[in-house]
């Protein structure tokens, strides 16, 4: 119901453009360091593991290929979404939960403002716009991390690494890599807002809602990625 109302509000006046921009800044710019770090280190770890495994078959030069496919299709979207869920889903739950227990949500309704339109829809739109962007950045930084390992540990040449990385990707990988974060964004934002708006039990309830938001959003991300991957695997 919350999802239906929040999505329906996208076309309904009033539009809170300034709130969307503020949330884009908080979710997008604010989460950039954690997304970059996650991408970079997952790229490094993957290159180290894959380089060693591929080395046993004399295929070390294909490290970039494996890193890029796994990052773009799966690890980039999932790890970035998990980081954003940890940072923003819980943040939304605690912010809205605090507003709930201090009657600020009631005050908003009493002042004639729809809290879903004012609070939920801007967060949903901002997450849907920023999570794919963050995922793309994390993917590129991860590939760069893979290159650092490839160059320093496995002595791969830049041209060799980046060519195999680039050529390994197909359009379906890119579509999958962008569709997943877009769909995850709804789980991240709506779970966070739902938990926050339904907070009860004072400050203790806020803490509980925060934890529940992060856990529930993470579970949804795993379920959704399994479903989307199944659809893409079946169709190709």
């Amino acid at each position: 119901m919350l999802a239906g109302q929040a999505i329906g509000n996208i076309w309904r006046r009033p539009h809170y453009a300034d709130d969307i921009l503020i949330q884009m800044d908080t979710i997008g710019v604010g989460s950039l360091p954690i997304a970059v770090l996650t991408g970079f280190f997952s790229g490094i770890v993957m290159a180290l593991q894959m380089g060693r495994a591929l080395g046993q078959y004399g295929q070390t030069e294909r490290t970039g290929e494996v890193v890029s496919i796994i990052l773009v299709r799966e690890l980039g979207p999932v790890l970035t979404a998990l980081m954003i869920a940890g940072r923003n889903s819980s943040g939304m739950a605690s912010e809205l939960g605090s507003m709930r227990v201090t009657e600020q949500i009631d005050a908003m309704r009493a002042l004639g403002i729809d809290p879903i339109q004012k609070l939920v829809t801007p967060r949903m739109i901002a997450t849907a716009l920023m999570l794919p962007c963050l995922t793309v950045i994390a993917d590129f930084v991860g590939m760069f991390g893979g290159y650092v390992v490839g160059a320093l540990v496995y002595h791969l040449r830049a041209h060799q690494y980046w060519t195999s990385t680039w050529q390994a990707l197909e359009w379906s990988d890119v579509v999958q890599g962008l569709l997943k974060p877009f769909i995850f964004s709804f789980a991240v934002s709506l779970v966070g807002c739902y938990k926050g708006l339904n907070t009860t039990g004072g400050t203790q309830g806020v803490g509980k809602a925060t934890t529940e938001a992060m856990v529930t959003a993470s579970i949804w991300i795993f379920i959704l990625t399994a479903l989307i991957t199944k659809i893409f695997v079946s169709s190709t």
């Binding site: 201090t102 009657e103 005050a107 309704r109 002042l111 729809d114």
Partner: protein
């Protein structure tokens, strides 16, 4: 000041009416068959022990809590049959002071007080609505804050205010759009006696200056006593005794969700009900 005939006529208009209202949360019945009629120009003092349903009654009055039986009629509209979106228009004619003030933490005092004026345009269709006169808005914000004697706190954030100041800023937000009906939820709860007196003086001042109708939820008899016996004197800004105020002040006592008393102060003080007597004491 003698009231004109037209004033007398409008003063009998019903602003808020409860008709056998019950409110249930799962297994718990917070309000049971409550009926009353708040007339224009009247102030109703709702008293009762903690958990007796005072706040639920106030929230039900503007549709924040849903009725499970009965009717709530606000400004001649049955609000339980309205959708949330339609309720927003009705609620904009009501000023509400929540228990802890409920100021928005992310906004400074000026923006908090401006909120009812700015959001009025949003609710009426955003860009299609008439432009807001910002000079007039600033003037009204300043007037509202001057009214509660917080004229120099515009840029302060709510956490920077004391409990009493937060409550006063919330009163400014409640009255800035000049609503004809005001609902106050425990306006003096948790405040020291001097600050509590200041808050009640502001409520009386608002009643007398703008001739507003009010529902005041409180557990303190002293609050009701002030409303029923004093008026605001604009000449010196102080409260002065007024024997006419009692007739327009109706006391209501809630016990476990039921309305067990309704009447003027004299009747309240002479009540033989043991529960009601607990709330009555002279200063």
């Amino acid at each position: 000041m003698p009231a004109t005939q037209s004033e007398n006529r409008t003063e009998t208009q019903s602003m808020l009416r409860f008709e056998s209202v019950s409110v249930r949360f799962d297994e718990f019945e917070a309000l049971k068959d409550v009926s009353f009629d708040l007339k224009q120009g009247e102030t109703r003092i709702v008293m009762g022990a903690a958990g007796s349903g005072k706040t639920v009654l106030l929230k039900t009055a503007i549709g924040l809590d849903c009725v499970s039986a009965g009717k709530v009629v606000l400004f001649d509209q049955e609000i339980q049959s309205l959708r949330e979106r339609d309720l927003f228009d009705v609620r904009q004619r009501v000023g509400v002071l929540f228990q802890e003030g409920a100021l928005f933490d992310s906004m400074n005092v000026e923006r908090n007080v401006a909120y009812p004026l700015l959001t009025r345009r949003d609710a009426k269709g955003g860009a299609k609505a008439p432009k807001i006169d910002m000079a007039d808005t600033h003037k009204r914000i300043q007037e509202a804050l001057d009214f509660v004697e917080l004229g120099n706190t515009l840029k302060l954030m709510p956490p920077e205010l004391s409990g009493g100041m937060r409550r006063r800023a919330a009163i400014a937000r409640a009255v800035v759009a000049k609503p004809p009906l005001l609902l106050y939820d425990s306006p003096t709860a948790g405040l020291d006696p001097i600050t509590a007196h200041t808050i009640m003086a502001l409520i009386i001042k608002e009643r007398d200056v703008d001739n507003t109708t009010a529902l005041v939820v409180t557990y303190r008899y002293q609050d009701g006593n002030l409303v029923a016996n004093f008026r605001y004197n604009p000449e010196d800004g102080q409260l002065v005794a007024d024997e006419n105020a009692a007739a327009k002040t109706i006391f209501m006592v809630l016990k476990e969700g039921q309305l067990v008393f309704e009447g003027v102060q004299e009747k309240l003080e002479s009540s033989s009900d043991e529960y009601v007597k607990k709330f009555v004491k002279r200063d």
